[in-house]
């Protein structure tokens, strides 16, 4: 049992996973052509960054890193609410979700 619990995983692996998730989010942001999926890619980037915050909080035994993730989650929730409302407003004005056809600031 104690050998199970003392098994080690280097923290750099967590950081690499976090970097990979962030990069996949950037790729999604660039290649996806649907407004909602582009928005989901942004959430993926936020999650990747959150993982590196938690990893460094573990590294330095600091609680504030985890609290920062908590704030990021709150901001992400607010952002999701406003962003999806904007998407609904855009869809109502343009009747499309394709980012190529939403190329004017004016609704």
């Amino acid at each position: 049992m104690s050998s199970f619990l003392s098994q080690e995983v280097p923290l750099s692996w967590y950081l690499l996973l976090s970097a990979a998730l962030f990069s996949l989010g950037v790729v999604g942001f660039l290649i996806k052509r649907n407004l909602i999926t582009v928005f989901m890619s942004i959430e993926l980037m936020l999650n990747g960054v959150n993982l590196s915050f938690v990893t460094f909080a573990h590294q330095w035994h600091a609680v504030k890193g985890q609290i920062f993730v908590f704030f990021v989650m709150m901001v992400a929730a607010a952002e999701a609410a406003v962003g999806l409302a904007i998407i609904i407003a855009v869809f109502r004005a343009r009747a499309t979700l394709a980012v190529d056809r939403i190329d004017l600031m004016k609704l």
Binding site: S23, L30, E43, L51, I67, V69, F91
Partner: protein
Amino acid sequence: MHLILFIVFAGFCLAGAINLLLQSHPINSALSLIVVMTSLAVLYLMLGAEFLAVAQVIVYAGAIMVLFTFVVMLLNAGREDRTLGSRAARRVGFPAVVAILAVIATVILHAQGLGVARLSDGITTTEELSAVLFTKLLLPFEVTSVLILIAILGAVALASHGDGNGERTGGK
């Protein structure tokens, strides 16, 4: 044990993220994103962040993704069509992203003094977290409640009909 758990859930994370990119229907992307977020919750737990693991499931996988799937269904979003724009973005974007990832990975792999994670490291209890959150960081915490309130008002204002004589007055 830790290694197996990390490999399994990191694999779920990456597979979900890649599936998010490959799927052309938004609802499939949303479901893969839920897989990513739930696996991340397990990884948070392995790093000792018990409160964040729970919050991740409730806030992200629960609230935010329900909002996403709700909007996908409300707008009846169909498959996305590949256009010229996506090809151009792919040609320029992929090398840039690979370069960014290579730089970050090099920095991480050469970083000195990065520790290791063990399951026996113990967890940061919610009590420790809240002791700091509600004393030293009370003001930012209260400010975020104002932020959430403004976001709610903004969302309602944006999503309601802008012309003022919509369905609310029944004059449609």
